[in-house]
């Protein structure tokens, strides 16, 4: 069965410190993974996906198939990074739909 685990519900760091949000997945096929960010009571926004390997707002994430992980990192946290972060795994249905399996989310707080 497909599963995404984000072990930290809450994470608090100081401004300027490095940030790492953990994500582990379980999937028998070739994984397609995403990180979404949700600012207070707003829609989910795509932060990045492993296929594009691009860096958004200074965040990066590397897919490690051996450890089945897709951790999100940023070298220097900023106060505007405070938000809820979701790791998600895309599972294609037989009709071609991209069904997302989400982790429980990590609420990141950046302290001044």
């Amino acid at each position: 069965a497909q599963r995404v685990t984000q072990p930290e519900k809450l994470l608090s760091v100081f401004k300027g410190a490095p940030v790492e949000l953990k994500c582990n997945y379980s999937y028998s096929g070739s994984p397609e993974l995403f990180w979404y960010v949700q600012y207070s009571r707003q829609r989910l926004q795509l932060l990045l996906r492993h296929i594009s390997r691009e860096s958004i707002k200074g965040f990066t994430a590397d897919l490690n198939k051996g450890e089945t992980s897709f951790h999100l990192k940023k070298p220097f946290a900023q106060e505007e990074d405070s938000a809820m972060y979701y790791c998600a795994l895309s599972v294609l249905s037989i009709q071609g739909a991209q069904k997302l399996v989400f982790g429980q989310g990590t609420r990141l707080t950046i302290n001044p």
């Binding site: 594009s52 009709q95 739909a97 991209q98 069904k99």
Partner: protein
């Protein structure tokens, strides 16, 4: 932002009453989805659609039905609302295929009392 509109944005209803949430898109995307967001569970897929009149169940479909009579509209109905269906509901759209971006609506806050 992708052209996705959800209505109503906020609703309070009584247990046992039917409720319909609407998702409207202007992107002409083939696939549409309904998720619910609950603390400790992240988002979970309720139902999805892969075309007009074509729908399928997601992970938490019990107590929900959906309909899609036009490409742009995807309706989620709670036939008889229960307190366990108090949640935030998000609609999402995608053009399909691996690598494509999935866009989310702004959410509908539903409280069942």
């Amino acid at each position: 932002d992708a052209g996705i509109t959800q209505s109503p944005r906020h609703k309070v209803t009584e247990t046992g009453t039917p409720v319909t949430l609407r998702c409207h898109q202007t992107e002409n995307h083939r696939y549409m989805y309904w998720y619910r967001q609950d603390p400790g569970h992240g988002l979970r897929l309720i139902h999805y659609s892969y075309g007009v009149k074509d729908t399928d169940k997601g992970e938490v479909s019990d107590g929900y039905s959906v309909s899609r009579s036009k490409t742009e509209d995807f309706l989620l109905t709670l036939e008889s609302a229960t307190s366990s269906q108090t949640s935030v509901y998000f609609c999402a759209i995608s053009s399909g295929s691996s690598g494509n971006t999935i866009y989310f609506g702004e959410g509908s806050w539903l409280t069942v009392v």
